[in-house]
């Protein structure tokens, strides 16, 4: 339960923590695109170096990154296996009758798994070093121009910040209800699978009830304080683009150029 790190900001004073959220968002966004440029060992090594450097600079305990990876480890392994067994390129490495493993498959498997790994690491790094509110303000300013074509950017940002804000609350609530039902004999973490599945209802129903109640309370509280949407609303958080952010972009640009030169 505590392993999901979305919205779990780890306070810190590192270079990455202090970056402008817009810079971090743009970087993460660009990273997601350019990671597809990598197509040989050297370009993947370059991405690996960039990711590890970022993690190192952020000074986050490695365990956090690992915890964030754990839930999708299975997906990565599955992707790897699918590629290994389904890609039929290059010389044959293994032959077990119906299962044939080719060199191209292994290579492809490793590449795709690494790609997933880097993506998750960089995006976790974004959420681990930036408060959810900063992320939302960042998104809102970045998408600001879209307001002109009638996109409800502010509403979207607000929805996101509310959603992010309530993830920890809901987790806490879940834990509380789990405890209360465990005390009444429900089994969540031990016992036969059938028992465990059955105990999902006593968990989900109260959770939904309280989530709806919270939503209603929040709406009421916002209305009571005169909230009326984005028009003319100023933000208490002013974002400042600094030299650090420019540095980040120079590094990113270098990465892009070397990628284009080194990819095959």
């Amino acid at each position: 339960m505590q392993n999901i790190i979305i919205g779990q900001y780890v306070p810190g004073q590192s270079f990455i923590h202090k970056l402008d959220p817009r810079a971090k968002l743009l970087t993460a966004f660009l990273f997601v695109i350019i990671v597809f440029l990598a197509n040989n060992w050297i370009t993947y090594a370059l991405f690996g170096a960039f990711t590890l450097l970022a993690i190192f600079v952020s000074k986050l305990p490695l365990r956090y990154i690992y915890n964030g990876l754990k839930p999708i480890l299975l997906v990565i392994i599955l992707t790897f296996l699918l590629h290994v067994f389904l890609t039929k390129e290059g010389p044959l490495l293994l032959d077990w009758g119906f299962l044939k493993v080719y060199e191209g498959g292994v290579e492809q498997g490793i590449f795709i798994s690494l790609r997933l790994l880097f993506l998750i690491m960089i995006t976790s790094l974004l959420t681990l070093t930036t408060t959810p509110i900063d992320i939302t303000v960042g998104i809102e300013t970045l998408l600001g121009p879209m307001k002109k074509i009638g996109l409800p950017v502010h509403e979207f940002a607000l929805m996101m910040s509310i959603a992010l804000r309530f993830i920890p609350t809901l987790l806490e609530e879940t834990e509380k209800i789990m405890k209360a039902q465990s005390a009444r004999g429900a089994q969540f973490s031990s016992g036969p699978m059938k028992e465990r599945l059955k105990s999902i209802v006593p968990l989900l129903v109260p959770l939904f009830v309280s989530a709806f109640k919270r939503a209603e309370d929040l709406a009421m509280a916002m209305e009571a304080r005169g909230y009326r949407g984005g028009e003319g609303r100023t933000s208490i958080r002013l974002l400042k683009w600094s030299g650090k952010d420019t540095t980040l972009f120079v590094i990113l640009l270098l990465l892009c150029v070397s990628l284009l030169l080194l990819r095959s």
Binding site: V10, K179, S182, A183, R184, G185, A186, S190, P202, P206
Partner: protein, 289 residues
């Protein structure tokens, strides 16, 4: 079942930057049948302590013995479910745990989980719904149609239906109106006496603590600050003031009475009636002389 807690320590999120020691150095024994009250400010570790008593939290150091169950740091107790059958917990705002379509089903949830036969469980539900102050016609209604106070009563019935021998109450009356508060506390106390329960009450109300407890434990910053019988604890208002806690209103009243009339009065005056009697005795003696 006797409860013995030895050198209990608990840290949340152990081994992370968020590590926080919630309890340390707790030594406590609660003999079977005791009404034990735990008082302390928010964040003093009360809720953490009681969650150890049925294995919802595991100690990071030390051990807890409940009857012949033993929970020890680093040792996995396999009979947690059996233990939980004996230890009922009414959590803060227990109405949040309701989930069934009908009130009856919700009350039955605990007993059925612990293997009580259905007809026996239904009998308990019918009896308990009345004991908590609702009538039997409620059994077939949805718990979500009720008012907050009624939901609280149903949730409490759901815990009592397990017939625990140890009943743990975590601020069971928070947010109720004065009348509901009195009714619920009286119910708990009656059950405590009739069924010979061991009751552990976490509360902020000095009045409740004074009226019902055999023993009071005052916690501060994850440790035990004071422990003793209500008479002893409340006879020394200064040590309570130091912990920014108050003595019950009746005791305050008696102290003022003593000052005013320069007399020594018994300090174990914890109910309104007893306070009235004490005041009357002072006044009558005044008239006699």
């Amino acid at each position: 079942m006797d409860i013995t807690i030895k050198d209990l320590e608990h840290s949340y999120s152990k081994g992370t930057p968020f590590e926080r020691k919630a309890l340390s150095n707790i030594n406590l024994s609660i003999p079977s049948g005791t009404f034990q009250t735990i008082i302390g400010h928010t964040g003093s570790g009360k809720s953490t302590l009681i969650q150890h008593l049925n294995g919802l939290l595991k100690p990071t150091q030390g051990s807890i013995e409940i009857g012949d169950f033993k929970i020890q740091a680093g040792v996995k107790e396999k009979r947690l479910k059996a233990l939980r059958k004996h230890v009922g917990i009414v959590f803060q705002y227990p109405e949040h745990q309701l989930f069934e379509e009908t009130i009856e089903k919700d009350i039955l949830f605990g007993p059925l989980n612990f293997g009580v036969p259905e007809d026996e469980a239904k009998k308990r539900a019918a009896k308990l719904i009345q004991q908590v102050g609702l009538d039997e016609s409620y059994l077939s209604r949805s718990p979500f149609d009720l008012s907050g106070g009624q939901m609280r009563r149903v949730a409490i019935a759901g815990v009592l239906a397990m017939k625990p021998s140890i009943l743990i109450l975590d601020e069971p009356t928070a947010g109720l109106d004065p009348r509901g508060r009195r009714e619920i506390m009286d119910l708990f106390y009656r059950l405590h006496q009739e069924e010979g329960l061991t009751t552990i009450l976490v509360t902020h109300s000095m009045e409740d603590a004074a009226r019902f407890s055999d023993d009071i434990l005052i916690m501060e910053k994850g440790g035990i600050a004071l422990q003793g019988k209500p008479e002893t604890i409340f006879s020394n208002p200064h040590s309570l003031k130091k912990l920014s806690l108050d003595v019950p209103e009746t005791v305050q009243f008696i102290h003022r009475l003593e000052e005013r009339f320069n007399k020594n009065l018994p300090h174990s005056v914890f109910t309104l009636e007893a306070a009235v009697d004490a005041a009357l005795s002072v006044l009558q003696k005044g008239e006699d002389s």
